[in-house]
Amino acid sequence: MDKLSHAQSELREMDALAAENSPIHRIHPLCKLLVTILYIVVVVSFPKYDFTRLIVMVLYPVLLFQAAGIPVHVCFYKLRIVLPLVCAVGLVNPFLDHTPVMQLGSVVITGGVVSMVTLMLKGVFSLMASFLLIATTPMDSLCAALRKLHVPVILTTLLLLTYRYIGVMIEELSVMSQAYSLRAPGQKGIHISAWGSFLGQMLLRSMDRGEELYNSMMLRGFHGDFFYVNVPPLKISGIVYTAVCTGAFFCARYFDITQLLGSLFAG
């Protein structure tokens, strides 16, 4: 399988994950969206040297991945491209902040190292929570939730169609790339001299397909907003889920649960 086909199958795997039927999948998308946003806000709000308290926040994605029946390693595999970028964000901190904050044996840990780890954890946790959201919520349900939050219809429609047509774009690109490689045997990738025409063709094909799609929608009465059909009704479980998660996040933010657990086990 070439890289493009692999990308396409990964995209479809995400659709399949979101279409599963676990208790987490059944929660109303608006509740999941609000909890995810809140989680990210709380995670980001931790002070930069407070990584011991931050660590407890990993429980939310890890426990929910279990409840949703999604192995955590799937998350890390799917995020393998962006995770290094997120981790790279704090790499300069150790060079800027030399304040010693703790000592492990003879090794002095500086504030820069601690803040780097904190930043990395914040990034990784936020990505895990976002992945959890899209792996348990179909894109149209997510857009329906965004509409409930009064996000403009043009943005939700754009998001939905972009997501839906990434697959078609990859398909077109795959066909073009196969046609190219069949006439350029032994050549690795696409030669730089062909990039311009390749991109131009891609643009023209996208425009053609976009126009066809738009016509097809207009001919079936589309007037700017989708009727989302995959939205489960808001049940008491969704409200309880939101309330419990909100309470847990604020406890984690304002109480040192790590220390509490430590003292509980250490006596």
Binding site: S216, L219, R220
Partner: protein, 246 residues
Amino acid sequence: MNRMIKFDHVFFSYDREHYVVEDLSFSIGKGESVGLIGANGAGKSTIMKLLLGLLSGQGEILVEGIPVEKKNLPQIRRKLGFVLQDSDNQMFMPTVYEDMIFGPRNYGLSKEEADKKVDEVLGRLGLLELKHRYNHKISGGEKRMAAIATILAMEPDAILMDEPSTALDPVNRRTVINTINSLAQTKLIASHDLDMILDTCQRVILLAHGKIVADGDAKTILQDRALLEANRMELPFCLQGWHGGK
């Protein structure tokens, strides 16, 4: 017979120099099944687009007496269902069900009414097992049938089809032909598949360079080898006779 579609001296040009459709006049009665044939570039798809208001030309086009004008487009499009040549462009929602419910919901049916309509159409076409399947996971033949189903769910008065038998294997092609024949609506089918046209249409309009070359009984026109060959077409295979072979 009541008139469903009328073209009256219609002209259309993309570049204002060469007419793609030139002085075209014809009408189609309610319940008629008409094949639109002609070589590549003869103007078949353009006629469909003009009828649906996706292009606008000169002259008058009427659908059940309503002029095809911008202000009337929602009303016109409610009456006409268009099956696109490429089902991938038609089936843009993730599942067959979501695609089928798209039109009826946009036209104001409640979810319950639309659900009922979807079940009824899928049941009639024997496609109930496709209902919750992902569009990217169904075969080309199933996708074409599902595309027809999405249009039928809107209950149009007339169905326009652009190359409905393209890229189908013989069994799927036969299924599509049988489905077309089972529809009571007015049908306008643009195709190069003359065997399919012969199987589905009583009347044929032969186009060349945007003009009508022949308009009449399908069997008569499709048996006229000289006429077809003069317009870059061939006799349907079923009329070519058995020449034997290994």
